[in-house]
Symmetry: C2
Subunit: 165 residues, 2 copies
DNA sequence: AAGAAATGCTTTTGATTTGAAGCACGTAGG
DNA sequence: CCTACGTGCTTCAAATCAAAAGCATTTCTT
């Protein structure tokens, strides 16, 4: 069942997946409880709050937050309904939509951020020893760059269909 | 915007989340292309194939695979329809449902496993240098144990509602 | 300048997931 | 035995998400 990965590699792979998954689950639950925000919604607001003028184009906002444009449109609709963001078409390019955080959006981010940070610290960093952070950062950073630069790999011709399953 | 986490901590946090997310996305895409299996479905089959007699109770299978029982019921229905698994009630406890892999299920796992392993190796382990694996394993393992033993933390009374958002 | 192709977003459709409610079986207390 | 409660799974309703199709605008080609 290990089929080409050593026991240690397999363990590291599973640990990575589980840690990421549990962390997201825990953080998500707390964000909902504190501000009725999903993890994705928090990311959108946080990115906007961090952007130069508090605004970004939909496309630029989508990268890294969600795997489809329609998903962002959906979330933007929800956030706009709650008046946490605003949408307007760009003067430069009539196709583009500019998303801006409202004051309410900034306030909400400010309100949930401390709890979010606490969660991450408690779950992820508390169990780390001296030097762990530097080691992890270096390796994970390298892996991330590698993954980003690796092409999405065309599927082999074996495929017959691929809906969401 | 860092609010209590150093720049390096923040970077490590984001890198961890992104690496886990991209890895799952890539692996998922390949599993679909190779065997029309989602990541969750593959996990279910792989666990069953790895279990003593190729069978497990729903409840035992659910742990770690999915965050709700109903989600497992749904996936089990899909896999059963494809005759990759079988469901039958337990003789010991009439309430329990025993899930078993079929020969077809085992064959499918065997067919997609090499590609899956290749993906993980290429994306996750190729960019690692000597010693990285041991370091990562140790730290991630420790964090995982810590997360598992940390109670789900009751939400603070601040909460008003918490649908899926 | 006209048509073709590309870009940016939304709408639509379908799949997956969750929590709540429901149902069946099992266990404990009187 | 009989009721109350607990457990295991499924059904149901609602939410989220992605791919495909659609529409508008812009850019490229000739």
């Amino acid at each position: 069942m290990t089929g080409g990965l050593s026991a240690e590699e397999l363990g590291a792979y599973f640990a990575l997946m589980e840690v990421g998954s549990l962390l997201q689950y825990a953080v998500d639950a707390h964000l909902r409880a504190e501000g009725d925000l999903s993890y994705v919604q928090f990311q959108i607001l946080a990115r906007l709050a961090d952007a130069p003028e508090g605004r970004l184009r939909m496309t630029d906002l989508a990268d890294g937050v969600v795997y489809s444009r329609s998903g962002l449109t959906y979330q933007a609709g929800l956030l706009e309904k709650r008046e946490l963001i605003t949408r307007s078409s760009s003067p430069d390019d009539e196709r583009s939509v500019i998303v801006s955080v409202t004051d309410g959006g900034r306030a909400l981010v400010a309100r949930v951020l401390p709890g979010h940070v606490d969660d991450v610290r408690r779950l992820l960093f508390d169990p780390m020893a001296d030097g762990d952070l530097a080691a992890i950062s270096e390796v994970l950073g390298r892996i991330r760059r590698h993954m980003r630069s690796t092409p999405p790999r065309s599927a082999k011709p074996r495929a017959k269909n691929r809906r969401k399953g």
